[in-house]
């Protein structure tokens, strides 16, 4: 035995005496407890969540998660905190889901709770993670946890330069997703966690295959939320696995504050001054228009615009006939579209000559969400855009009311000349 009680207490000089005594005595107590010839002492409760490593000496009375996240906008999942484990319930794994998923996140070094009710048990903080959607990549980057990334679904979808450097260095595997996921590679990597997206068409889902194979997989489907802030808040889901609940709470509060700050400037705008907005694009003779309960509709409303399908109740895109769209939005002032391959209005005409009949097209007020594409055609809109709801709002305000944000330059939206 290297240390004994007397030597522990003997050393030290006066100015540092107090501090050193505290440290040393704690050390000694640990040693004593380890030797088992004294009762377990009541450890001082941790001031922060443990973001690395495990609890060495479990105390059932200690709250291991002093930092907690509370949800304000997201409706698709819930987080409950217990002393040494968290319960994550994903209530909306996909739109209008009938089933929900429960996960028990147990602090590493503490026991698994007795009654898990069949929920998946995952030890946290996770040390390695595979993500099947780049929307989760932004979470890792924002939380400074990119070094734990071991696999992505498709290299070409990755925008983040930092993540690309890891790919180039051979530190990240490519595993695909859905039915064609490369299970062997994933099993070989054996990540602590895989984050997958839930899909309402079961054949596209990756999680059944993975959980059957014994891989820890959680569904992270921020897209089910009807507004950008709700989508951004799914950051807290990823953070819960990293024990960064406090940091995600703080980061998200900043997003909300900036977003609401922008929105407040438009709140009292009279309707007459609000430009009308059209969305989506034509696929043959069906126009897929974002529904009235979609995040696009909410974004346009917050930015002081009139979304022409605001009264619609759909969250997903609605397939409309060309006639119906032209009748309502032929005179719309601004058109927000989302086609990766459109850089100028001529590209739209090449796709469909009928676009020329729209006023927004003639007035050169067509905007596309592909301003940030890298050499691999990955779009940052689906990556960093997920955790920058405030910047997205500022973009749309700049487009609809340029005078309100004179200094803002468009980040995610591209004007099509």
């Amino acid at each position: 035995m290297p240390l004994s009680l007397p030597t522990c207490l003997a050393d030290g000089q006066l100015p540092l005496l107090l501090l050193r005594q505290l440290v040393l005595s704690l050390l000694c107590l640990l040693v004593l407890a380890g030797d088992g010839w004294a009762d377990k002492p009541a450890a001082a409760p941790p001031a922060m969540n443990l973001t690395n490593g495990c609890v060495e000496h479990y105390d059932p009375n200690v709250d291991y998660f002093p930092e907690k996240a509370t949800l304000a906008y997201a409706k698709g999942f819930a987080l409950q905190y217990f002393k040494h484990y968290k319960v994550l319930t994903v209530t909306m794994p996909w739109p209008e889901a009938k089933e929900s998923f429960r996960y028990i996140l147990v602090q590493c070094g503490t026991p698994v709770p007795e009654d898990t009710g069949g929920a998946q048990v995952i030890e946290i903080p996770i040390r390695s993670i595979a993500i099947l959607s780049t929307t989760h990549l932004s979470h890792l980057e924002l939380l400074g946890a990119l070094d734990r990334l071991v696999a992505v679904s498709t290299y070409d979808n990755v925008y983040s330069p930092a993540a690309r450097r890891r790919i180039d260095a051979g530190q990240v595997a490519e595993v695909g997703r859905g039915p064609s996921i490369n299970l062997e590679t994933l099993l070989d990597l054996n990540p602590d966690l895989v984050t997958a997206v839930g899909h309402d068409q079961p054949q596209y889902n990756s999680h059944p295959l993975l959980s059957n194979a014994g891989v820890h997989v959680v569904i992270n489907s921020e897209y089910v939320e009807p507004n950008l802030l709700g989508r951004s808040e799914w950051l807290k889901l990823t953070a819960a696995f990293l024990n960064q609940d406090g940091r995600s709470q703080h980061l998200f509060a900043g997003m909300v504050q900036r977003y609401q700050g922008y929105a407040a400037q438009l709140r009292d705008l009279p309707t007459a001054q609000k430009p009308t907005v059209l969305g989506g694009f034509l696929q043959r003779d069906v126009w897929y228009v974002p529904g009235g309960d979609s995040y696009i509709a909410q974004l346009v409303a917050d930015a002081g615009g009139v979304y022409l399908w605001a009264n619609d109740a759909h969250r997903a895109s609605i397939p409309l006939s060309f006639e119906a769209v032209y009748e309502r939005a032929g005179d719309a002032d601004v058109w927000f579209t989302s086609n990766q391959d459109w850089f100028k209005r001529a590209d739209l005409l090449a796709a469909n000559q009928r676009y020329a009949a729209f006023k927004a097209f003639r007035d050169k007020r067509v905007y596309n969400n592909n301003a940030r594409l890298n050499d691999y055609q990955a779009n940052d809109y689906w990556e960093a855009g997920i955790v920058e709801p405030d910047v997205q709002l500022a973009d749309v305000i700049k487009i609809l009311h340029p005078e309100i944000l004179p200094d803002h330059t468009l980040k995610y939206y591209r004007w099509l000349p």
Partner: protein, 364 residues
């Protein structure tokens, strides 16, 4: 069971006596119905436009809402014309294939045209990663790139079949060749789908639904002459087609150059079905059903009657299917292929059973 069968009235020899009068009046009736369906198609759609306004717009007047003029003139009119052309093309080429192969299940796609076009489109829509450089100039999901790729795929397959048609002696060999080409291309499409993300699959599936509404006036300038030429060829081939009804050997003995006729039939069908598939997607059902419908109604297998009848009936059926698919009054539309088969199948079954009698079959 037997009671229901007994109630089906099968006229014993009426078809002979009814003869030409019935047939010509049927053709006339079809022509009138086609014109009527054309106007219905232009008058009704998702957006409710008063009939008086429709007439004003069609006669060159100003509508009370400018958007209505655009909807009628730039959307509904080309859509209705496309429906007529596509319906006629598929029905006539279906008839040609059924006669050529003496197979009641033959359709314009039997030689793999559809599969070839699907492969072309699937390569564009699904295998985006490999082709982004070239395609970003065209607009990835743009209709033009879809048309170009469908034409390329269809030409590849039909080119092979046409070359084979020059050399092969038996039509049956050709049929098998076409079927196998179809299977092979479908297999490649399956692999592409398997490795694609939902958004790409959605774009591909949207194409397979088929539609007439994507065709603009400028595209119609290409589509109309191509289909016109194909239909003209079909009219010119009616006599040898009638000879083929008696079998290839018999046709040969009548002095028909079977290989040559076969070549032109396949070339014509490739042009007709290929053009329709390229511009409207793979429109199913019409090609196989309309010829049977016309044979049953006319009680004749004379192609001098059948070709104009299938032409008119094909156009009429396509117009009606499109009218139903556009669901007048609602703001959305139904997939065309679902409508043609769902509404068409029971009608065809009813007419064919009634006319042909429940106990006879097609191969007799």
């Amino acid at each position: 069971m037997s009671a229901t069968l007994d109630t089906v009235h099968v006229p014993p020899t009426a078809s002979q006596t009814r003869s030409d009068l019935w047939r010509w009046s049927l053709l006339g009736g079809l022509a009138i119905a086609l014109v009527a369906a054309f106007f219905l198609n232009v008058a009704f759609g998702s957006v409710r436009i008063p009939l008086s306004e429709i007439i004003t717009i069609l006669t060159g007047g100003e509508a009370s809402k400018p958007s209505w003029s655009y909807i009628v003139l730039a959307f509904r009119l080309p859509k209705a014309l496309t429906a007529i052309l596509a319906g006629a093309a598929l029905a006539v080429s279906g008839l040609q294939m059924q006669t050529l192969f003496r197979n009641p299940l033959a359709d314009p796609y039997i030689l793999g045209i559809n599969a070839g076009a699907s492969l072309g489109v699937a390569l564009v829509v699904l295998a985006t990663g490999a082709a982004t450089g070239f395609l970003s100039n065209v607009g990835l999901l743009g209709d033009l790139s879809l048309i170009a790729s469908a034409i390329a795929g269809a030409s590849l397959v039909t080119g092979l079949v046409i070359v084979a048609a020059r050399w092969l002696r038996h039509a049956m060999t050709l049929l098998i060749l076409g079927l196998m080409l179809g299977y092979a291309t479908s297999a490649i499409v399956s692999i592409l789908i398997y490795f694609s993300v939902p958004e790409q699959i959605q774009a591909y599936i949207a194409w397979t639904f088929g539609s007439f509404g994507g065709v603009t006036w400028r595209q119609l300038l290409i589509l109309a002459p191509v289909i016109g030429a194909g239909l003209l060829l079909a009219v010119l081939l009616t006599k040898p087609l009638n000879a083929l009804l008696l079998g290839e050997a018999y046709a040969r003995s009548m002095g028909v150059d079977v290989q040559r006729v076969r070549f032109w039939l396949i070339a014509g069908t490739s042009v007709l079905a290929g053009a329709v598939t390229a511009f409207c997607g793979p429109i199913a059902f019409l090609g196989v059903a309309i010829p049977h419908l016309c044979r049953a109604l006319l009680h004749s297998s004379d192609h001098r009657l059948l070709v104009p009848a299938t032409l008119l009936m094909g156009g009429l059926a396509a117009l009606l299917a499109d009218l139903v698919a556009s669901m007048p009054g609602s703001r959305t539309i139904l997939p065309l292929n679902a409508v043609t088969a769902l509404l068409g199948a029971p009608i065809v079954v009813w007419i064919v059973l009634r006319r042909d009698g429940p106990r006879s079959d097609f191969s007799s």
